[in-house]
Structures are given as C-alpha cells and as structure tokens.
C-alpha cells in the first residue's frame, strides 16, 4: 500500500517535470504563433475535469514550483497564478458547466485562459512591487495580443485533446439511461 503512494508520487513528479520542460523549452521555440499555446493550463483543465480538484491542485503546485525554479520571473508567480486559475475553473465547472461536453470544455478553457492571464499580471505586480522592481508582464500591446493568441490556440488544443481522450477512454462519453 505504501509503495503505491510512492509510485503515485513519482508518476506525478515525472508528468509535472515533462510538462514543465515542454512548456519552458519546446513550445517557445516553435514557429509563428504556436509559442503562445498554454500546454500546462490545458493539461490542468483535463486533470480537473477527469480526476477532480485535489490532483489538479497537486499538479498546479508541482508544475508551478518547477516552473518558478527554472524561470527568471518573480519566484511564486507561476505557482500562485496556476493555483488561482485551477480554483476559479473548479467553481465554473461545478456551478455552471456540469456536463462534460466539448462546448463546456471550450467555455472552461476560455474562462481559465483569461483568469490565468489576469492572475499572472496581478501576482507579478504584487511580487515586483515587494521586490522594488518594474513589472515584467505587459497589460496592453503585446499582453493583449498574447491573450488573444492564447484563447485561440488553447481552444484548438482542447478540441484536439478532447477527441483524443474520447478515443482512448470512456470518461467523457455521455451516459444514456435506457428505460
């Protein structure tokens, strides 16, 4: 039983590390607008929808800490903003989007992308002010352009991932009750 917990912890760490490496090195090097894709957020949304709040929060913590360790942005920015985005998404998912359709996922993705974008900038503002530095993230100009690009690209990624998860598992398939 104990070994099962250790094995689970190692799997969690390995998956989190894989996503951090992809998000930090692979995605930013892609051509065109592809670097704006938020792989980590889409992954967290699927974990939230399929496994629940606790695993999503655990992944947000692990991915956030690893991203902060590798990044030169204020430490804590990724961890805090991912935590806020996961919580906000959980509220929307359980209060309004109670079915697991593609449209719900798309609405959740748009909402989560905007919440993450806002929380990153707010957390950056707070942490940078405490350190006596200028903000590192843009609100206007490139910031808005990046938000628009993220909304489109994250939605496309969610559509593709949704079809893939549907193909591989039954978790997102509707259940019909026969009389």
């Amino acid at each position: 039983m104990k070994y099962r917990h250790y094995f689970k912890a190692i799997v969690y760490l390995a998956v989190a590390a894989a996503f951090v490496l992809l998000a930090a090195a692979f995605v930013p090097g892609l051509p065109g607008w592809l670097p704006q894709t938020d792989l980590v957020l889409v992954f967290l949304l699927f974990v939230l929808a399929l496994s629940g709040l606790k695993p999503a929060l655990l992944f947000a913590l692990l991915i956030g800490y690893l991203s902060d360790s590798l990044s030169f942005l204020p430490f804590g920015l990724h961890a805090f903003s991912l935590l806020i985005a996961v919580l906000a998404s959980f509220f929307l998912l359980t209060s309004f989007l109670t079915n697991r359709s593609l449209y719900s996922f798309l609405a959740l993705t748009v909402f989560a992308t905007i919440v993450l974008w806002l929380s990153e900038r707010l957390v950056d503002l707070v942490l940078s002010s405490l350190a006596g530095q200028d903000s590192h993230l843009l609100w206007l100009g490139g910031g808005l352009v990046s938000l628009l690009a993220k909304l489109v690209l994250n939605s496309v990624l969610v559509v593709v991932s949704f079809q893939l998860v549907n193909f591989l598992t039954h978790k997102l398939k509707p259940v019909f009750l026969a009389r």
């Binding site: 090195a25 995605v27 090097g29 030169f72 804590g76 359980t94």
Partner: protein, 266 residues
C-alpha cells in the same frame, strides 16, 4: 454542486507561500541549483528540436524570395572582399605600430559557447532568451552575447548558478555603447525598439548618417569589447527644426531561431 474544501486549498496556498518564503531566504538554493543542472540538457535538446522546426518553416516561407536574396548577397560578398583586403593591410600596419610603441594589446576575450534553452513570451515586457550556463561558469550581468557569426545578439541581464537570462538587442531594456562607422565616428547609445529594431538617438544634426553604414560596439562599456557588429543603419530619422537626429538600425543577427550563442567573457 461539489463544495470546495477550503482547508485543503488553504494547505496548498500555505505550502506555496512557504516555498516562496524559503526561496527568498536562499534556503532552497541547493535544490533549485540541482534542478537547473538536471534540466539543462533536456531543455537544450527540446529547444533544439523546436528551433529546427522553426528553421524548416522559415525556409519554406522564404523559398520564393531566394533568388532576390542570392543576388543581393553576391553583391555584398564582392564589396566585403574588397573591404576585408583593406582591413587586413590596416591590421598589419596596426601591429607594426604597436610593436614600435611597445603598446600592450588589450587582453583577449574568451568565447564561452552556450545553448539557448528558452525564450520569453510575447506578453512579457522585454524579449529575452534563457541560456544553459550561469554564474558558476563565469557569466555575470553586462556581458555581451554574440551569434556564431560574431554579431551582437544581446546582453546578459540576470544569472543563476547554472542558467542565465539575456535580453535581445531589439528589446527595450537592452542598451549598448555604439559607434557608427562614418567619417564623424558618431558615438552614442543604441537601444532596442519594440522588439523589432534598434535605435540610436540624440545624434547631432551636423553628423552625416547614411543608410548602409555599419554600427559597432564602441568599447566604452567595461564588459563589451570594441568592434563587435551590432547592425546596419536602415534610415536616418531627422526633423528640420530639431537639434538631434536618430538612426534606425537593423540587427544583422537572426534572432528568431537562435540555438547556439557565445558569451564574451573577459
């Protein structure tokens, strides 16, 4: 409707808060340093794959312009051959004169090859790249970063033990002491402009600036050697009633697909 267990959320928030607190007390430095060292090879490999894909994409989109580019480059090569020959004879004369005057040559800079392992997001205030070596390898803020052709790409702004961040020459926060290779030997400060180009401002109107002139580092900065190519003047921007003019400079380095750069360490 599922309810949020606020206690659990509080625990996660507290853990993150503690991690941030310990980080700023430098208690997590050994762990973070080890993580960076472990991650660097994987980051370099992944970024290399992505940069390769990006280069392939650029090649496909640029194919139709190749003939024009080739013709332009042939003309440039001929002009550069002539310039090179003149410069070689000047170099020999310089060495002879240094010998006569017993003038010590400036200490050479060591080139430290670095892999680019990350790039900044569009939504960040300043364009930057992340490099796979840091303070343990002798890097410090202020050092110049050059491409494989020896053209200035940027400057190191922050370092950790095993990684460093460098601003790109087109970034707003990147400045170099520069000189334009014209008759007046105009010196000034060049700074990145909106992530697209480089600008030198506050140039007296009396100085002659023309399109095509080469802009190099002036050597007035402690950590940046003299003579490194920054770019070429695209346009001299002047208003008749103004005291000053500005020069818009195009960087000669390809900043989109960087995978290997070098730091010039004194």
């Amino acid at each position: 409707m599922k309810k949020v267990k606020w206690k659990r959320v509080g625990y996660f928030g507290a853990v993150i808060g503690l991690l941030v607190f310990f980080h700023y007390l430098n208690l997590l430095d050994p762990l973070e340093s080890r993580l960076q060292r472990l991650a660097n090879p994987a980051l370099a490999r992944l970024h290399g794959f992505a940069a390769g894909a990006s280069r392939l994409y650029s090649q496909q989109t640029d194919r139709r312009d190749l003939q024009t580019v080739v013709a332009e480059l042939e003309g440039q090569v001929n002009r550069l051959l002539e310039e090179n020959a003149n410069l070689k004879s000047l170099e020999e004369e310089n060495e002879r004169l240094r010998g006569f005057l017993d003038f010590a040559a400036p200490a050479p800079y060591r080139r430290l090859m670095l892999n680019v392992v990350g790039k900044s997001d569009l939504g960040q205030a300043n364009q930057s790249i992340t490099l796979d070596r840091g303070s343990q390898d002798g890097l410090r803020p202020g050092l110049a970063i050059v491409s494989q052709d020896g053209i200035i790409v940027g400057k190191i702004t922050k370092t950790k033990e095993h990684s460093a961040e460098a601003c790109l020459v087109t970034s707003n926060d990147c400045q170099f002491a520069a000189a334009i290779q014209n008759q007046d030997r105009t010196v000034g400060l060049v700074r990145g402009d909106l992530g697209l180009t480089v600008k030198m401002e506050l140039i007296p109107q009396s100085e002659q600036i023309k399109s095509g002139m080469t802009v190099v580092s002036s050597g007035l900065e402690q950590s940046v050697p003299r003579g490194l190519v920054i770019g070429r003047v695209e346009e001299a921007v002047r208003e008749n009633n103004e005291l000053w003019q500005a020069a818009r400079i195009a960087s000669l380095a390809k900043l989109d697909n960087l995978s290997i750069v070098a730091a010039l360490v004194p």
